[in-house]
Amino acid sequence: MAVLERAYKRYEGALSPEWSRFLIIPRHAFRDVFRSKIFTGLYALSFAVPLLFAVLIYLRHNPVALTIFQLNVVNLLPIDEKFFLAFVQIQGWTGFFLALLVGPHQVARDLTNNGLPLYLCRPFSRSEYVVGKMSIVTLLLSTITWVPGLILFLLQSYLEGWSWFAANIPIASAIFLGSLVWIVLLALLTQTISAWVKWRLAASAALIGLVFIPSVFAAILNEMLETHWGNILSIGALITNVWSGLFGTFVRQAAAARQIRNGVVIREVLMTEPPLWASWFVLFLISAFCLWLLSRKVKAYEVVK
């Protein structure tokens, strides 16, 4: 085919490798996503915390700067697993809000206008479609979570020395794995909601509801039953436990409810968190359920029985 000739011509040229075709979806999606100035602004803002953490690491290793700013090294945060856990938590929740802006319309826009058959009539499978759509959120959030997290880790290792790096390798893996679990969960949730709720605002509201409303119920249950097992309902609490587990800061007996009368403890209840495996298991169940829901919707045509 040629613009001037305007005649049909078969394509006989080279083709792109099949394994890489799912990446076409995020590449085109980012083009649209970054067209929004609000989103671009928020995305740029999400690098403020990594920058702040980098400054903290740098200051801790620079006596001259500490002298100039009249700071004592003990006043600064210790650079340990808690430091990086805080980073992962802050960036993880920042990522949630970015996913809220990007995710909920990705599948809906294809379903609304019967676009799916156009994907699936090509050498492009349903799994590649789902992976492609999920990689929009995954790639985007990776750039603000584990990628800067590992850069901070390397910066700290560079300044502290090889022995610190060798001793703290588990922190690096916790940064990567913890962020990845959260990102994949968010990607699955956003795509599933997007597949079932076509209206973008409603989809965003559904995502917020899904993450925060169960947390309220969990808090009520915890209060009523004097336990922390209610956290099993809260995605926020579950991921916090998983993160803590990965960074080695997880404590099951988080708090004790005490009833004191006349200065005497008359009742004390140990509030135990669900075990770590339970948190992992529930997150796995949520992910599996999302995949099942996605598989029901991501079809070229629905057969009405």
């Binding site: 083709l15 076409i24 156009l118």
Partner: protein
């Protein structure tokens, strides 16, 4: 992006038919939609006809791999739809019946995106997207969002995405739906251009007989999920040249006897009208000579042929499975 995979058109089995149906059946929720379809289609353009609900779209969807056959199978260029779906999908383009596009995308972006999904490298995809849009006549509107298009323009955009990657076989599902007469003519002309280019085979599904008649060489008529008629229109047209309708003036007795003596079958349909089936070796000029010697005027001579409408109506009345007979 590195492009290391050679195009797959060379992997096509050219000796195989375009579409081979091998007892293909499809059932949805216990209800048979396609029943034991059997046949081999080899034409450059194949028309899929049938009333609404006959199973035309289901057949296309099954060939595209959207539905699994409940029994039997089909082959496209020799590749089985059950086990070689990806290989088949590399060779085909599909224009769906319903509106199909991605919202908030300009037409050029949409067509380019589809070309990339078909495996074209990004730069080539963009180039061919421009070409495809000029080819279908949307060159001037290619930077507009598809959702702002009229129905006719959306049909053209769908055609563009179906041909942008230069497939070997193009499925067109009701391509003239909702088009006004000039737009319909343009669409038909483009389909014929693709057919005549010899670069791609076409499967055209429609319930509009005229569209199929104008574009297709072979037709398959479906009724209640069964293949009731297979007809090679080109062959029929050639064969029909032997069937003549004559309108005459004068005494016909001698002329009819003369026609019989030439070895042709002849039937009087009214006082002045004759149906004649020419035998091999008999020419029309022999009839004129005979008419002159019998003092008969031939006022009109037409080739009598069944229109596609006749074929279709017969198929709907009889519902017989098998090839079309005169």
């Amino acid at each position: 992006m590195a492009t290391v995979v050679p195009a797959t058109n060379s992997q096509v089995n050219d000796s195989a038919g375009v579409i081979s149906l091998d007892n293909l059946s499809v059932t949805f929720g216990g209800r048979p939609i396609l029943r034991n379809l059997q046949g081999e289609l080899r034409g450059r353009s194949i028309g899929l006809l049938g009333p609404n609900g006959a199973g035309k779209t289901t057949l296309i969807h099954t060939l595209l791999g959207f539905h699994q056959p409940s029994s039997g199978t089909a082959r496209i260029f020799g590749s089985d739809i059950r086990g070689e779906a990806n290989k088949i999908k590399r060779l085909i383009g599909y224009m769906p019946e319903r509106d199909a596009f991605i919202s908030k995308m300009s037409c050029i972006h949409f067509v380019r995106f589809m070309a990339e999904l078909s495996g074209l490298p990004a730069a080539t995809a963009l180039e061919r997207a421009h070409e495809a849009l000029f080819f279908v006549g949307l060159g001037e509107a290619r930077y507009r969002n598809v959702e702002t298009f009229s129905l006719g323009m959306k049909q053209l955009a769908k055609l563009a995405q179906a041909v942008v990657h230069g497939p070997r076989l193009i499925f067109l599902d009701e391509p003239t739906n909702g088009l006004d007469p000039p737009a319909r003519q343009r669409m038909i002309r483009m389909i014929r251009e693709i057919r005549d280019s010899g670069q791609a085979n076409i499967v055209l599904s429609s319930h509009l007989l005229r569209d199929v008649e104008e574009c297709c060489e072979e037709i398959v008529i479906l009724k209640d999920g069964r293949l009731v008629v297979y007809c090679n229109l080109e062959e029929e047209r050639k064969a029909n040249k032997k069937f003549l309708m004559l309108e005459t003036r004068g005494e016909l007795q001698q002329f009819v006897e003369g026609v019989g003596a030439l070895g042709c079958e002849c039937a009087l349909t009214s006082d002045h009208r004759l149906k004649i089936i020419l035998q091999d070796g008999t020419e029309i000029r022999d009839l004129y000579r005979l008419a002159a010697s019998s003092q008969v005027q031939i006022r009109r001579l037409t080739y009598k042929r069944d229109s596609l409408e006749d074929i279709f109506l017969k198929a709907m009345e009889n519902g017989n499975v098998g090839p079309l007979t005169q």
